[in-house]
């Protein structure tokens, strides 16, 4: 794919969403624009960084068929049992400035098709990091054929601490009677900005389960967009965000119930400490005629610091009668009674906090829908919680 001239690229960057857009009210992409401009000024090349070690470490942590996209460059595995992989042969249609940027700068796109039941999950490792500020794109389409059953892991990581902006588009199609499980692990550096979209379309009587874990990142915006256009779908997705000093993590979800019956449920949980901001915006639209829809939303937040901020917004739009919808949002501190109980048993305040935050996160970890990734996710969550609660004035 030939790249657009730099002035065209700058023009697209200029059209990226701003906080004047309702959907981007809390998330300012100035850093993404700035990094991309600096990168274009420098010639728009990315110095290849030595990543082999990190790639080996991460891909060894979860048993999966790994496809690696390093600074936007695709590395196919030697062998991918049960999965057919092809390079994207034409630019995907773009429906937003972020998608346009993705299309314009994409080095290589990946299309995967899963038939039957592969023995291992498909792993997508998106790892970025260069010698100087850089921007990278990834585009992956995963198609689960009708009757198939499989798992996909999206793992976002960074090498080094250089400013970086990664813009990722993942599409998941779940065929009729197919069952797909998905996890997204985001463990980027504080100097990384990421906009990531996961778009899911499900067929008749299809099942889709997902869980996202945001552990790192400086400025992160995730969009999960799910379209239910066939009856009988069962959708569930979770999200856990652990944010510390200087982090901004925004999770937007949108579920379009176009037909019924179908169920969708989402549960997001967040633990925030230090000066940081998280956003949860869960939108469910039950379109006219989507009778028999059951849509649930829950978002629970634990704020360990007065400087932490959460903007939580459930949005239900219902245009039909025969529906069951619910939502619940909570924002609170650690339960003082539990804290005292643990301290009265000899655990210091930090240990007690770690135990209680662990318990808050544990429910989502224990039901990670991709079983082979569960243990690794549990370890990452534990490690992040340990640094998170040590990281500021809370215990001094």
């Amino acid at each position: 794919m030939t790249r657009l001239p730099t002035n065209k690229l700058r023009e697209i960057v200029g059209r990226l969403p701003t906080t004047r857009d309702e959907d981007w009210k809390y998330t300012d992409l100035s850093r993404a624009r700035d990094i991309t401009s600096r990168w274009l000024d420098a010639g728009g090349e990315t110095d290849a960084a030595e990543m082999a070690e990190d790639i080996a470490r991460i891909t060894a942590s979860i048993d999966a068929t790994w496809f690696v996209i390093a600074n936007g460059e695709l590395q196919l595995p030697d062998d991918a049992p049960g999965v057919s992989a092809t390079h994207l042969d034409e630019a995907p249609a773009a429906d937003s400035a972020l998608a346009e940027l993705n299309t314009a700068l994409l080095l290589d796109g990946l299309r995967l098709r899963i038939d039957g039941t592969p023995g291992k999950p498909v792993g997508l490792l998106l790892i970025d990091g260069a010698a100087s500020a850089a921007t990278s794109q990834a585009y992956v389409d995963v198609v689960f054929a009708a009757q198939s059953s499989g798992e996909v892991i999206e793992y976002h990581a960074s090498l080094g601490a250089t400013d970086h902006y990664a813009n990722t588009m993942v599409g998941i199609t779940v065929g009729d009677n197919a069952a797909a499980s998905h996890v997204r692990i985001q463990n980027r550096d504080l100097n990384h900005v990421q906009t990531g979209r996961t778009r899911v379309a499900v067929g008749r009587d299809a099942k889709f389960s997902s869980a996202g874990f945001d552990l790192g990142g400086g400025l992160i915006r995730n969009d999960i967009v799910i379209d239910i256009a066939q009856p009988g779908a069962e959708i569930s997705f979770d999200g856990l965000y652990l944010a510390g000093e200087g982090q901004h993590i925004d999770n937007h979800s949108r579920v379009d119930h176009r037909v019924g019956p179908a169920t969708s449920s989402q549960e997001y949980r967040g633990i925030l400490n230090g000066k940081c901001r998280c956003v949860w915006n869960g939108k469910a639209i039950v379109h006219e005629g989507a009778d028999g829809t059951d849509a649930d939303q829950a978002n629970h937040n634990l704020l360990l610091s007065e400087k932490a901020e959460i903007d939580a917004k459930p949005e239900l739009e219902i245009y039909t009668d025969d529906v069951k919808c619910s939502h619940g949002t909570t924002v609170g501190q650690l339960d003082e009674t539990s804290l005292f109980y643990l301290r009265s048993r000899g655990l210091d305040k930090q240990q007690a906090t770690q135990v209680l935050t662990h318990a808050f996160a544990a429910g989502l970890v224990s039901r990670v829908p991709v079983e082979p990734a569960r243990e690794a996710i549990g370890a990452l969550v534990e490690a992040r919680l340990a640094t998170l609660i040590q990281s500021n004035e809370y215990f001094s």
Binding site: F340, R343, S344, R345, G346, A359
Partner: protein, 250 residues
């Protein structure tokens, strides 16, 4: 072991303890009795270090050191155990994890090596057997979905594992059927030794049929108004609290 002098404490604007004094020596079992609202639970919480209770006057010394200077976890590691009237449910934290973390916090404080998983399991199962607890409780969330009796047994299990020098049991007998009461009493009696002291906070005399106290104190309006031996408990059972209150006022 425990010396409380003229202790005054309040929560918010209401003064609950109004000049309480109590001396507990090693090897002794004390029962603190009194009507609802007399300050029994407050006394237990203040000794354990609950931050909501402000101490406005008086002193509390434990083994000669000023207890009020210590954080709750430091008090626990020094050997104080509070059996809660309402044990807290902590879903997602497994019982074995808490027990082991608590034991190791104490061992570390006393310069001992941490106990390994194998030794710990052996110890925990041994203690559970004596309390008639199913070992599967170890893998459940702390008090999660436990019945009232199971929660109280779990408190006694924690006490048995931690082997405190001073155990304060706050209404440990409330809501127990006779089997649970016996198991709890057995756990407490097993801990009795010349080096340890036990303070039982209770509303009813029933528990004292199974754990024989050396001293019985009657608490009313934040002060001890009468002290005696175990016969005082029987007298209270028979005559109620008004009798002591009237005698004290008169």
């Amino acid at each position: 072991m425990l010396e409380i002098k003229n202790l005054k404490s309040r929560i918010g604007d209401s003064e609950i303890l109004r000049g309480l004094s109590l001396s507990v020596k090693a090897g002794e079992v004390h029962a603190i009795m009194g009507p609802n609202g007399s300050g029994k639970s407050t006394l237990a919480q203040v000794v354990a270090g609950h931050q909501d209770y402000e101490v406005t006057e008086g002193s509390v010394a434990f083994k000669g050191q000023d207890l009020l200077e210590l954080e709750p976890e430091e008090r626990a590691r020094e050997g104080i155990f509070l059996g809660f009237q309402y044990p807290v449910e902590i879903p997602g934290v497994n019982n074995a994890y808490l027990l082991k973390a608590a034991l190791n916090a104490k061992r570390k404080h006393h310069g001992l090596d941490e106990i390994d998983a194998f030794e710990f399991l052996k110890l925990a199962k041994e203690k559970m057997a004596t309390l008639g607890m199913d070992p599967k409780f170890l893998n459940r969330g702390v008090n999660e979905g436990f019945s009232g009796g199971e929660k109280k047994r779990n408190e006694i299990l924690q006490m048995a594992v931690l082997e405190p020098e001073l155990a304060i049991l706050d209404e440990t007998d409330s809501g127990l059927d006779i089997d649970a009461l016996k198991a709890v009493a057995q756990g407490v009696n097993a801990l009795r030794s010349p080096e340890r002291a036990i303070v039982l906070v209770t509303h009813y005399q029933r528990l004292l049929d199974y754990i024989e106290p050396d001293f019985v104190h009657v608490l009313s309006q934040g002060r001890i108004i009468k002290s005696g031996d175990k016969t005082l408990a029987l007298e209270l059972e028979e005559k109620g609290y008004d009798w002591v209150r009237e005698a004290a006022n008169g």
